[in-house]
Amino acid sequence: MREQLIQYVNLLFAGAQGCEDIKQEILQNTLDRYDDLIAEGKVPEAAYRLAISGIGDISEILGTQRISHSVNAHIQEPETKEEQQKQKKLRATAIALYILCPIPLFLLSELGAATIGLCGLLLMVAIATALIIMSSKKENEEEKQEPSPMTPQQSLRKTIKNTINVAGLVIYLLLSFTTHAWYITWLVFPIEAAIWELTKAILDLKEATKHEN
């Protein structure tokens, strides 16, 4: 049992760097306590249990590093919120551009310069698409910063999201080129966003019920 106690303390400090002194100290005192309990006439199993319960919550000691981590996390939080705000603004501007893009075509068609109007429309679509790509690129960078591997649920989500994105783009291009109704086909994108939000909500609901069980 004494040997197991040594193993227990070693395991307790496994992975903790720079704690060799504290480990040695706690190990020695835990062994002292164990020996005393045995001397008092306790059976080894009881002495082992009591000695271990006497150690208490070791995270207090190992905690210094973790605490500084969480402090950093708190400092970083507002930044990521700002980032999110920025992303939202980029997306909102992009959507506004999609909605407004037929205006130059309408106006310039009235003046008999439909070609220039069409160029204006395409330019606005191009800018809007660039904004969307920029905002989603930032999202990817954030994901890269996260060291933890994705859970199966997260990777499923990512796959679904990518599929919806690609499908949306394909549908948009197909509809636009076949119908030439560029002034209305942009609606594919808001619909795509709505579908994604709906899917996310369904997945969230499913996971929540799974956790409850």
Binding site: E25, I26, D36, I55, E60, I61
Partner: protein, 110 residues
């Protein structure tokens, strides 16, 4: 533990300093004395004890050195510094004041 452990734990630093004032000692011995004095009603967890040691050492109230125990194992001994003695007297005064106020606050008659 039926007694107010949290209340006593709030004075861990003062308790350790008071022990070390009587001579150099190591973790388990200090804890055993605490247990004996309180008739087994109070005892510190190792983790609490070492957090306090670390705090006191960082603030210069105690110093430590490695010594050998009889059985050949290495033990970390702690000794109180001049700053630690000052801190002890300050904490003792604070405690006496607290005790006096608590006594008055909890007593039935005015």
């Amino acid at each position: 533990m039926s007694i107010a452990g949290d209340l006593i734990r709030g004075h861990t630093d003062a308790i350790i300093l008071a022990r070390l004032l009587r001579g150099d000692s190591y973790g388990y011995e200090i804890n055993k004395t605490i247990s004996t004095i309180s008739s087994g009603r109070f005892e510190l967890k190792e983790a609490t004890l070492y957090t306090a040691f670390k705090r006191l050492e960082e603030s210069g109230c105690i110093a430590s050195y490695w010594g050998d125990s009889g059985a050949g194992a290495r033990r970390r001994y702690y000794t109180i510094t001049a700053a630690g003695k000052d801190a002890y007297h300050r904490l003792m005064t604070e405690w006496l004041e607290t005790k006096e106020i608590m006594d008055k606050l909890l007593r039935m008659e005015e």
